[in-house]
């Protein structure tokens, strides 16, 4: 028997509404994710959440890899680390998932450019590079294991480039620290750094989280996302819905409100809630449930048009 299918209007109208309802209204475990945000002149994170506009992010491997790891195994580890952040579902709400996905540039880069080339924006790559010879920043050689440099637009928080450097000059990276516990597990470090690449910050109150800032030598647990990491990713990039930082029209537009109180109240102005699908428009005081109402209204409107 052929399975019954939901009408299109139902899918288009109700599913996004249900997703948003689930994200804002259903009881969940205590959130312990942190969104990286635009900092103010004091270095305090009070601005928009840093997020990619696209859900498909291309990364580029720097050719040559590292001599720490034989063959091309380091690239396989990096691919696995990226895939850890794909098809992520919330632990408490497994029907809610993120649609972030990664694509590997088939051409490996020969250009050692960390940061951003604003003169030639199309030349920028989200580069993964191993520093076998030396570490480029004074004062970091002995302590920095890996570094993510994220370039963004400070007005919107939109991430436009992110590069990850691994300090293979100092640290002995290994494919599997479970087998070589005196080594630095590449997957453990890479999965954490990719969290930064996605706009997630350090989680302090859960040492099991991939985004926890501390780890033991030989640790491998950060290869696997914890529920907090999954919740953060789904909040920021919910499948089939707008980023959890901008456009839906909620008071926290432009800001990643959970899990803690904001250190500064956002000043939100109603500009336009209809014309700019990528823009940031908000209604002061609007609630998440209010947006669910908007979602249902959209669904009904689609139904009437089709009717």
């Amino acid at each position: 028997m052929r399975p019954s299918q939901a009408p299109g209007w139902l899918v288009l109208g109700l599913v996004p509404a249900l997703v948003v309802f689930a994200l804002v209204a259903l009881p969940r475990g205590a959130a312990a994710f942190v969104c990286s945000r635009v900092t103010d002149s004091q270095g305090k994170e009070t601005g928009p959440s840093l997020s990619w506009r696209t859900r498909g992010i291309t990364y580029t491997l720097f050719e040559g890899g590292t001599n720490d790891i034989p063959g091309d195994e380091e690239f396989a580890v990096l691919r696995t680390s990226f895939s850890a952040w794909e098809e992520v579902r919330e632990c408490d709400l497994p029907f809610v998932q993120s649609d972030i996905h990664f694509m590997e540039n088939p051409v490996r880069s020969k250009v050692d450019r960390i940061g951003y080339d604003f003169v030639n924006p199309s030349a920028n790559e989200n580069l993964m590079i191993f520093r076998d010879a030396s570490w480029p920043i004074p004062g970091q050689q002995k302590t920095v294991i890996a570094l993510t440099t994220t370039t963004y637009k400070p007005v919107t928080g939109e991430i436009i480039d992110a590069d990850i450097e691994f300090n293979t000059a100092t640290f002995n990276f290994v494919v599997d620290a479970a087998v070589q516990p005196s080594g630095t597990d590449l997957g453990n470090a890479a999965t954490h750094e990719i969290g930064h690449l996605l706009g997630l910050g350090h989680v302090l109150d859960n040492p099991d989280s991939t985004m926890a800032p501390t780890a033991q030598t030989g640790e491998t647990s950060k290869r696997v996302l914890h529920c907090d990491d999954k919740q953060g990713l789904v909040f920021k990039y919910p499948s089939g819905a707008a980023n959890g930082y901008c456009n839906p029209p909620v008071a926290s537009c432009g800001y990643c409100a959970p899990p803690g109180a904001l250190t500064a109240r956002p000043t939100v102005t109603v500009v336009d809630t209809h014309d700019d699908p990528g823009g940031c428009a908000a209604v002061p005081g609007a609630t998440g449930l209010g947006f669910v109402g908007v979602g249902f209204a959209l669904g009904l409107a689609r139904r009437r048009r089709r009717g």
Binding site: S36, V38, T39, S41, Q42, G43, K44, E45, L50, R113, I114, G115, Y116, D117, F118, I137, P138, G139, Q140, K142, T143, V144, I145, A146, L147, T148, T149, T150, T151, Y152, K153, P154, V155, F171, T184, N188, A189, H192, E193, H196, G201, H202, L204, A212, P213, T214, A215, Q216, T217, E219, K222, G260, A261, L262, T263
Partner: protein
């Protein structure tokens, strides 16, 4: 806020071993490796961010209150470079980079680059924040990107104890 910070630093004092992004350097290592350890006022005499290649860095000129270790300075100010900042319509963030909060007193562990500028040793680990205003204040490493407001603190010390520990580490054989 200060009380909250104090409670937090006590709770975090036992944090161990390695960070994913950075290895936690013991205090004696920080003190030994630094080219300059100094108590500074973080009210910037000047501050600007600019591009260096593809990186944005922020250069801050700070007033030195007291040198705890390193060569004597020819000027009462130093220029400290941190990763990240904003230039026009672009901004850059490096998780774990040191932040120099304005209007505070800081103990800084700095490496001197070939360009003569100073860089925080071990990123955020090289900047310690004086947590209170007492005669012998508590001082602790400040993690810039932790809690809202950037006040996750660890390894608290009294200022006098920290100074003694730094000097002992730098004079140890």
């Amino acid at each position: 806020m200060r009380l909250l910070a104090f409670v937090l630093l006590l709770s975090l004092a036992g944090a161990t071993a390695l960070a994913t992004a950075v290895r936690i350097a013991p205090l004696d290592e920080l003190a030994r490796d630094a080219d300059l350890v100094a108590l500074v006022s973080s009210t910037p005499l000047s501050e600007e961010s600019h591009w260096e290649g593809g990186r944005i860095v922020t250069s801050v000129e700070l007033e030195v209150e007291e040198v705890w270790g390193g060569a004597a300075l020819t000027r009462p100010t130093i220029r400290v470079v941190t990763l990240g900042g904003q230039v026009g319509e672009f901004a850059q963030r490096v998780d774990g980079a040191a932040v120099l909060p304005t209007g505070e007193r800081l103990v800084t562990f700095l490496a001197r680059g070939d360009d003569g500028r100073y860089y925080p040793q071990g990123m955020w680990q090289g900047v310690w924040l004086l947590v209170d205003d007492g005669p012998d204040p508590i001082v602790a490493r400040a993690h810039p990107y932790g809690l809202p407001g950037g006040a996750a603190l660890r390894m608290p010390e009294r200022l006098s104890d920290l100074k003694l520990a730094v000097q002992e580490a730098r004079h140890a054989p």
